[in-house]
């Protein structure tokens, strides 16, 4: 093989990118060429475990001897046509002047985070690991929770440009093979140039991609994923994303929190009610308030009526404009506080809470009850942070409905939204599953939570192979 020519060819294939490295070594008349990406390989291993043993070797250099010499496990022989692809995946390619064979040594290495507690779902008492952007690490995090042969990891590749690796992860004998098959089929049908984050798959794998409702579970913690795998769900780990997807998904999952499983069951039942109340307040609070103010003053108790009447007298705006204004203001503050560096966050909260809220009220621009209602609704929204986007949209929808047509519209809207959610059956799981249709055994881990010792069955809201959790 003409090493120099080959290296030149590979470099041209890779458009002479700056991180392509090559090296040649001449020994006893034979020539060895190394090609690799500086950015994707471990340079120390390359030097110590590959280059050094070969350069010290005094015997005859050939494909076989080099294969023996290299002190790396991942060594394989590849075809000539595969060279470019392999180099791109962090492999050192070795070519020999006295042989047509090509040796590939995998020493892929890039910088990743170490598993740390994800900001989205912190726990008080419980595992603090979170997934990282690296597929291998993520698989490790799951694998080390299952020391059994049941855990299956299958690979799929999506994205014509990104060639993103996706690990389909499920427990054999527990997850429904039909669901696994369905997922694989849908993955193979996806036509997209690149999958940057797992969120891309969220819409691509849903039954109703246009729907505003979230239909696939997202999670950032290996302990939660393990629990979901045990329930018979399938997890999709996407390379480059710390968010792992679970299928099938029911709305209840977002009401559950990993904290619930690490505390007293009565307390966690109580917390779930609080979360439900939080959703209610967040979705309906501003809408009902504005509806009462504009259409149904006569159902308010007199003392509350007096408070509202007194405090809204000075406001230059009509109630609807006022509440829209405050809601938008909050949303802007929220966006700002997300984007700002943390040392500026304090400043925004001072500006938001003190100057805009308090002074606004004192200056007679906004009324205290409205501020309270909006504030409660916006805070309540974060009792279920996973549904943040949906709840925010619904909040505005119900606000508009309440202001336009009153209580009748709000209740009609609520019925519509729930009826719509009831029509969704993603991968055979009714969206509002243990409540409608009502499944008694699933309600053990529904709004009420029973002690772990009583949860002997896997969820029935979606299909899985084995219903009982115990082996007998």
């Amino acid at each position: 093989m003409d090493i120099k020519n080959e290296i030149k060819k590979i470099k041209t294939n890779l458009h002479n990118s700056i991180d392509v490295s090559d090296r040649t070594l001449e020994k006893n008349g034979a020539e060895i060429g190394f090609v690799y990406l500086k950015s994707m390989t471990d340079n120390a291993i390359f030097a110590d475990a590959i280059y050094e043993p070969i350069s010290r070797f005094s015997g005859e250099i050939s494909f076989e001897t080099v294969k023996e010499l290299v002190q790396v496990n991942d060594v394989e022989e590849i075809k000539k046509s595969e060279i470019t692809q392999k180099v791109l995946k962090g492999v050192v390619v070795l070519m020999f002047s006295n042989s047509d064979k090509v040796l590939a040594i995998d020493i892929l290495k890039f910088l990743t985070r170490t598993p740390s507690e994800p900001p989205t779902s912190p726990v008080i008492m419980g595992p603090r690991e979170g997934f990282t952007e690296d597929l291998k690490t993520n698989i490790t995090l799951i694998r080390r929770r299952f020391y059994s042969e049941q855990l299956v990891l299958e690979e799929a590749v999506v994205g014509s440009s990104t060639q993103t690796k996706i690990a389909i992860c499920y427990l054999d004998g527990i997850a429904d093979p039909k669901i696994v098959k369905d997922i694989k089929k849908r993955l193979s049908k996806i036509k997209i140039d690149g999958v940057i984050d797992s969120y891309y798959l969220l819409t691509l794998l849903s039954d109703r991609p246009d729907s505003m409702l979230k239909q696939i579970g997202c999670c950032e913690k290996p302990d939660i994923i393990s629990a979901k795998l045990l329930e018979g769900r399938v997890a999709l780990i996407v390379d480059g994303s710390p968010i792992v997807l679970t299928i099938p998904f029911v709305l209840l999952e977002d009401l559950q929190n990993s904290n619930d499983y690490y505390t007293n069951y009565i307390y966690s039942s109580f917390l779930r009610f609080i979360r439900l109340m939080g959703i209610f307040l967040a979705v309906f609070g501003p809408g009902v308030y504005i509806a009462l103010q504009l259409f149904h003053y006569n159902v308010l108790p007199i003392n509350y009526l007096i408070t509202i009447a007194d405090t809204t007298q000075q406001i230059p705006f009509t109630p609807f404009i006022e509440i829209l204004f405050i809601s938008l203001l909050f949303q802007i503050l929220y966006e700002v506080s997300l984007r700002l560096p943390s040392y500026l966050g304090l400043a925004t909260s001072i500006v938001g809470a003190l100057i805009l809220g308090d002074t606004g009220v004192k200056a007679g621009l906004i009324s205290p009850p409205t501020v309270i209602v909006v504030a409660i609704a916006k805070i309540a929204l974060y009792t279920v942070p996973e549904q943040n986007a949906q709840i925010t949209i619904l909040q505005f929808v119900f606000l508009v409905l309440g202001a336009s047509v009153g209580l009748l519209g709000i209740i009609g809207g609520a019925i519509y939204v729930l009826a719509y959610a009831n029509t969704i059956e993603n991968y055979g799981a009714p969206y509002l599953a243990p409540f409608s249709p009502f499944i008694l055994s699933d309600n053990k881990d529904g709004l009420l939570k029973v002690p772990l010792s009583d949860m002997t069955n896997r969820p029935k809201s979606f299909s899985n192979e084995k219903k009982e959790r115990t082996d007998d």
Binding site: Y297, I302, S404
Partner: protein, 420 residues
């Protein structure tokens, strides 16, 4: 983008939402609070008109919002005249520039002068109007209802005592019937056709305080409060009034006023009500161990009543068996303070007989009033009717005046007294 809009077009709900927003949402942007379009009326006073053109003079105690960040109740009394109730309400609305909202109506005050005629004619509108809460209190006053509303407003401002609370107190401890508009009509439509309206009197404000009749101690307290506030209220030339709750009530039959009852009369009648047991009994000049010529006051701790109706020779006999549990809590002896603990006092048979005698005479008084005015406030009718319908009907048919049945029903009472 084109595809996306096509999808939206195919989702009718989104279109409808946009439609609703476009039509109603935009108009809502300019809509002011409903409270600003309605005058919230919490009390209505009904007065008689002197001239013949108008029948009614209605006074409204309305809540007028003022710009405040704290909870401030500001009420205003406005008056409107009209040929009918609706007309007067319309005029009042015209005066305020707001529609009159009756959904928070709590009290309706009638001038006693109006009660000489059929009250139901006056109250008809209020009971038919769906918006008026059926728990609205109906009370009468001996002078102008307008002044009464002003006094109410004053009372509320100065001490945040509400007249509706006074009415509630009366119905709990004195009249024993709900003093609501609804209850008035319930009584009117019931077979006894009897209803009760509590009456409050007004007295000119001299001391500026809450006056409660027969209670000097509290009156004095009110006076001392008045001393502090006197400077504020005394400024105007208007004479201000105080509401006096004497615990009195008016009884009606078929919507016509029959008689005014004092609190004591009402309490006497209440002995016939099974579930009603408050009050005190005083025996004067009682001698017997260990007391000597003492005035004893007993509190009724518990009352249990069993009633039975038996027809004897076609005449209903109403048996009333009452068990009292009483507690001695006051001894007035001539020789000074009584020096024993009365909590453990066991009623002697002599004391018991005295109490029984007292109760029986009270009951007789109560019955005598009912018989005199032929109004069955204690609703004996239902009890007798439900015992034996046929006999009772026959009995009623045998009477010359069917309303006068109370005078022909025999009452037999048995009273027993126990210590706690």
């Amino acid at each position: 983008m084109k595809r996306f809009f096509k999808k939206i077009w195919k989702t009718p709900m989104v279109m409808i939402f946009i439609f609703i927003t476009a039509i109603y949402g935009f108009s809502a942007l300019g809509k002011s609070t409903e409270i600003n379009r309605f005058a919230v009326v919490t009390a209505i006073g009904i007065d008689n008109m002197a001239d013949e053109n108008n029948q009614f003079e209605l006074s409204f105690l309305t809540f007028i919002p003022i710009a405040e960040q704290t909870f401030t109740e500001t009420y205003k009394v406005i008056t409107a005249k009209g040929d009918s109730f609706v007309e007067a309400i319309d005029y009042a609305g015209q005066y305020l520039g707001r529609e009159i909202g009756l959904s928070h109506l709590r009290t309706v005050v009638i001038n006693e002068d109006l009660l000489q005629n059929d009250v139901t004619k006056i109250l008809d509108y209020l009971t038919r109007e769906k918006e008026v809460p059926s728990s609205t209190k109906l009370i009468a006053t001996d002078s102008s209802a307008k002044d009464f509303l002003s006094a109410m407003q004053k009372l509320d401002m100065e001490s945040s005592i509400k007249v509706s609370e006074m009415v509630n107190f009366n119905q709990r401890y004195i009249t024993a019937t709900d003093a609501s508009l609804e209850k008035f009509f319930k009584g009117y439509f019931s077979p006894t056709h009897a209803s009760i309206i509590p009456i409050f009197s007004l007295e000119k404000d001299e001391e500026n305080g809450i006056s409660v009749a027969n209670n000097e101690a509290q009156g004095g307290e009110g006076g001392s409060q008045g001393g502090e506030n006197g400077g504020q209220t005394g400024e105007g030339e208007n004479i201000s009034y105080n509401i006096v709750n004497g615990g009195e009530a008016l009884i009606f039959k078929n919507g016509f006023l029959k008689r005014q009852l004092s609190a004591d009369d009402l309490k006497n009648i209440n002995y016939f009500r099974g579930n009603f047991s408050t009050g005190a009994l005083t025996i004067k000049n009682f001698s017997g161990k260990p007391f000597e010529n003492a005035n004893l006051t007993f509190n009724i701790y518990d009352k249990k009543m069993k009633t039975k109706v038996v027809f004897e020779n076609g005449i209903p006999v109403f048996y009333c068996d009452i068990k009292f549990t009483v507690v001695l809590n006051g001894v007035e002896e001539d020789n000074g303070m009584f020096d024993e603990n009365v909590d453990l006092y066991l009623i002697t048979s002599k004391a018991a007989t005295e109490i029984e005698k007292k109760v029986k005479s009270n009951m007789a008084d109560g019955l005598a009033i009912m018989r005199e005015v032929k109004v069955d406030i204690a609703d004996f009718y239902t009890k007798i009717y439900n015992t034996d319908k046929k006999s009772f009907k026959r009995f009623l048919d045998s009477l010359d005046d069917k309303d006068d049945y109370l005078n022909h029903v025999l009452f037999k009472t048995r009273v027993r007294v126990y210590s706690r």
